[in-house]
């Protein structure tokens, strides 16, 4: 039984069957990649997991509890954090504030009004955020405005914002999309480091084969809204069906 169990999930947008009958099981402490050509339904599937979309059929269970019908913030509180395709950070605030906010959100998310506390007196949160920034080598940039960071650093910051919440499952939506080669490699190194340092389950949606094969423990190939095959990276590379559906158009 995996930490995330997707059973028979289907989603239709008008005449388009975006997801057919998706079954997926993500095991704890593994990196599970979901790959597939454009329009395979990868993003739709991810949106069903985080509460942005509600699937028409099927069930999504996280740690034995259904996530369906819950709003995004509730799903986050269950322990699922997500990284966006383009880094979503608080551009007008400082890097340190960016990392403190998820700490506060974890504590006060549903609503607790600390209107008379003072952010600078919250030493626990401050320390947690600083340790996290140190972990991703960004402590020296703590007082910069997040909006002024480079693309790679924004990605790093967003990752830190997710990790500081100590999620049980981290969802990454094309974390290296639009990045230069060097930035991509940096991100891979960062993810590898996170994987070895922490007990964390990751589910990556990715286009870039290089990223997938250097990180994933299991790979699910999605095509036209249905999982084609699920296996280890070695087996996926040589799989004829996968080559035909997807890898034929990419260089491995």
């Amino acid at each position: 039984m995996g930490i995330l169990e997707v059973k028979g999930v289907g989603k239709r947008f008008g005449g388009l069957q975006a997801l057919g009958d998706v079954n997926l099981s993500v095991q704890e402490n593994t990196v599970h990649a979901i790959i597939g050509p454009n329009g395979a339904g990868k993003s739709t599937l991810l949106n069903c997991l985080v509460g942005k979309l509600i699937p028409d059929t099927g069930s999504v269970m996280f740690d034995g509890q259904s996530v369906l019908g819950r709003s995004p913030h509730e799903i986050n509180q269950m322990g699922i954090s997500r990284v966006f395709q383009t880094p979503e950070i608080f551009a007008d605030l400082t890097v340190l504030e960016n990392v403190m906010i998820p700490c506060f959100a974890r504590r006060d998310g549903s609503f607790r009004m600390h209107a008379f506390g003072s952010v600078v007196n919250e030493s626990d949160m401050l320390q947690k955020a600083e340790t996290m920034l140190d972990d991703v080598n960004m402590l020296s940039k703590a007082h910069l405005h997040a909006g002024s960071l480079s693309r790679g650093d924004k990605r790093r910051l967003e990752m830190a914002m997710c990790l500081v919440q100590e999620p049980r499952l981290l969802l990454l939506d094309e974390p290296t999309a639009g990045m230069a080669r060097a930035d991509t490699n940096n991100t891979i190194d960062l993810l590898k480091e996170i994987k070895t340092k922490r007990d964390i389950t990751m589910c990556i949606i990715e286009h870039d084969m290089h990223v997938v094969f250097s990180l994933a423990d299991r790979i699910t190939v999605l095509a036209q809204g249905t999982p084609l095959v699920e296996d280890t990276p070695q087996n996926i590379k040589g799989h004829p069906k996968v080559r035909e559906a997807y890898l034929g158009e990419a260089q491995v």
């Binding site: 913030h73 954090s81 998310g109 952010v119």
Partner: protein, 400 residues
């Protein structure tokens, strides 16, 4: 001090000094000098400065922190005024229960309107609040006449059934508002040389309440709650996927700022016990938006400056007329004098709106951070000059 850091404490002390010494600061010209008309140190106007300061500070808690632009905040001000006047009519002429009731009623009203309006964001939120405020205005004007006394406005009468206190004083007039016997209109005048300084009880009550509200606003800005609100303004999508339910946070901000508006309305009625529907009109809502943006939305002191600025213009600039202009320019040759007066005429007197509009445009285009940004730029300029004199490298800190 007071749980604030050094910078905020000094800001609070500066505001305290400015408000408490306002009767001196706003009265720089001797009474019989030609410039006396620029004096703003009379109780009525000073009260308006601080009351609208409270209104704008409260508005800034919503707009400056969460970015939700409410176009109906005057409704809460109006509701506060009506509540206060009813308290005077029914309970007592003491201002304390009136102010408390106006804050509570405005808060409840804000809870109701906020609950509905905050379902949408951006322009739709603004339109919803505007619609609610106009609805309140029209209701107060027509259907709710038994409560609001329609277009005449709610006033005290000689036969008010006041529970604590009398309906009419011994000499047959309407009693005046007071704070435990200290009449709000009582004013102590101090003549020093050519100057005449006025210290009004009403002004000092408003000033102290303004300082307390300003202090509360500073605390909210620096609190985790304030940080959450700024995060909501910055990136609501990220906030949602970070486990924060944004609705109750924005609603709390809306209610708090509605209560500030109610407080301002209650104080207005306490200084002059009448309430009219026009206080809720959309122009009144627009005015507080102007004040906040002119001063600097999202900054602490900005709204107070903006409120002072606009009220000064409204009351002082509008008093200048052609005769005054002719006096000023009498040293010019006749034809040119008339021409200069003709040019300036549209910008003064009834035309003060035009001047204000031009200033507002200049501020928004060249100083998007409002008057506060202007101040920051000037101080940075000075710092730069100083440090280059010392031969040290100029170092500027990014504006917050």
């Amino acid at each position: 001090m007071f749980g604030l850091n050094k910078k905020d404490t000094s800001l609070l002390l500066v505001v305290a000094a400015l408000t408490l010494f306002a009767p001196f600061i706003l009265n720089p010209f001797p009474t019989d000098s030609g410039l006396a008309q620029f004096n703003a140190g009379y109780p009525d106007l000073m009260q308006r400065f601080v009351i609208f300061g409270i209104f704008a500070v409260g508005f800034n808690i919503l707009f400056g922190l969460t970015g939700y632009l409410s176009f109906g905040h005057a409704a809460f001000l109006g509701v506060g005024s009506y509540s206060a006047v009813w308290m005077f009519k029914l309970l007592s002429m003491n201002v304390i229960p009136a102010i408390i009731l106006s804050v509570i009623v405005a808060g409840l009203f804000a809870l109701l309107i906020g609950f509905v309006s905050l379902r949408r964001s951006g322009i739709y939120f603004s339109i919803l609040t505007l619609a609610f405020a106009q609805m309140s205005f029209n209701l107060a004007y027509s259907v709710l006449t038994p409560i609001t006394n329609g277009e005449t406005g709610l006033q005290l009468t000689l036969d008010d059934p006041r529970i604590l206190g009398v309906s009419a004083t011994a000499d047959g007039s309407i009693p005046v508002t007071s704070l435990f016997g200290l009449e709000m209109r009582s004013t102590y005048e101090m003549a020093v040389g050519g100057w005449n300084f006025q210290f009004s009880a009403g002004y000092y009550l408003c000033a102290i309440i303004m300082l307390v509200s300003f202090y509360i606003a500073v605390r909210i800005f620096r609190s985790p709650f304030g940080l959450m609100l700024r995060a909501v303004k910055c990136n609501q999508n990220r906030m949602r996927y970070t486990g924060l339910n944004t609705r109750p946070y924005t609603l709390a901000a809306f209610v708090i700022s509605g209560m500030y508006a109610g407080l301002a309305g209650g104080l207005m009625a306490s200084m002059d016990p009448l309430a009219g529907a026009e206080r809720m009109q959309w122009t009144a809502s627009g005015e507080v938006v102007l004040m906040t943006i002119l001063g600097g939305a999202g900054t602490l002191i900005g709204p107070v400056l903006g409120a002072g600025f606009i009220k000064y213009f409204e009351n002082i600039f509008s008093k200048i007329n052609d005769n005054v202009l002719h006096q000023w320019f009498s040293w010019l040759p006749d034809g040119i004098e008339d021409f200069v007066v003709f040019i300036i005429h549209p910008f003064i007197g009834k035309g003060w709106h035009l001047t204000l509009g031009i200033l507002f445009m200049l501020v928004v285009i060249y100083l998007p951070g409002g008057l506060v940004e202007g101040g920051q730029r000037i101080s940075r300029l000075f710092k730069k000059n100083k440090s280059s004199d010392d031969g040290a490298a100029a170092k500027t800190t990014p504006a917050e």
